[in-house]
Amino acid sequence: MSSSLTAAPPGPGGTELVTGTYEDALAMVGTTREVTFSSHRVTWALIKYFCAMVRDANASYWDEEFARAQWGGVVSPPALLLTWVMAPEWSPGDPLPAPMLLGRVPLPDPTVISVGTDMEFFRPIRVGDRLNAEETLREVTPRKTTRLGSGHFLSTESVYRLGDGTPVARYVHELFRFTPGEAGAR
């Protein structure tokens, strides 16, 4: 039986973790990270490569004529939401992208895993859209012990919007920041 170590999807700046106490973390609840503006638009090429990986034959992703009539253009699989605001890890003259909020929550534990996601979509994401994301720390639980080890559950909520402010999606991400323990050993 495997332990569930699906990693947190890394965002701009990766997931290097800030250390601190639970009280430090609680003081951060409600904090909103500066809005991340994507440096690029949603592109059909990446949509096709992703659908090839998933083996998804949906006409909305492959047939421009169908997609234009149905959605106003070729759309992105909803699962690619996070990718559309990821920043390249290097660009000329730019400082490193700011780290994700989850990495900035001060806690004593050395590692983090994703345990759940909840996404709500208000409209399709179309080729040519340029998204931005605003992420807020919603909750840090008291210390809990699971089969992986002991640590704290965190949740963040992000709102994804178009450049004109139209909301596209709401994303709640649940994570476990933990110290691997005997119980978590395989």
């Binding site: 039986m1 495997s2 332990s3 569930s4 170590l5 699906t6 990693a7 947190a8 999807p9 890394p10 997931t15 990446l46 490569y49 992703f50 090839a52 990986m53 998933v54 083996r55 998804d56 034959a57 949906n58 006409a59 909305s60 492959w62 047939d63 169908f66 149905q70 699989p77 909803p78 699962a79 690619l80 996070l82 990718t83 990821m86 890890e89 895993i113 994703s114 345990v115 759940g116 996601t117 909840d118 996404m119 709500e120 979509f121 399709p124 691997p180 978590g184 050993a185 395989r186």
Partner: protein, 154 residues
């Protein structure tokens, strides 16, 4: 029409609560896991570096969150058709899918309903879905709220 592309559409009117979705099986080769970083820009080493995965106590590299999400959405929209829309999807991650595993998707309609909250009548179904491995272990249970079109003339 492009050959091989899926155009078949299901209508809200024809769905019955309790309907089962067709099972979807997918063999996840090493190459397919490596396609995760390539197609989602997620370079976490657990998805491309077996040595790193072993240092985490994992047998080898494993698929990322977005691959799970994409497979769940595919399960829902393969059944619902290309004019269906994922309105909401909630997923938990319990176990990993490793290179060499087979992903098995299953699902069932648990509710058929309408929603007026967005200022229009939307026709939706709630699907209970699960992604299992070839040993029958549930790796990622999910609930999807899928918007479906009405049957023309309905």
């Amino acid at each position: 029409m492009i050959p091989g592309v899926d155009y078949s559409q299901r209508y809200w009117d024809d769905v019955v609560e309790g309907d089962e979705l067709p099972e979807v099986r997918d063999e996840i080769t090493y190459r397919r896991v490596i396609m995760n970083p390539a197609t989602t820009w997620d370079y976490f080493p657990g998805h491309h570096d077996p040595e790193y995965a072993r240092s985490q106590g994992q047998p080898t590299i494993y698929i990322n969150t977005m691959h799970f999400l994409g497979f769940i959405d595919r399960l829902a929209t393969d059944w619902g058709g290309p004019a269906s829309f994922i309105a909401r999807r909630k997923m938990s991650m319990r176990n990993s899918i490793y290179a060499g595993d087979t992903m098995v998707g299953r699902g069932r309609v648990t509710r058929k309903y309408t929603d007026e909250s967005a200022g229009e009548t939307r026709h939706l179904v709630e699907l209970d879905l699960s992604v299992e491995n070839q040993h029958g272990e549930v790796c990622a249970p999910a609930v999807v709220h899928l918007r479906l079109p009405r049957r023309p003339g309905a």
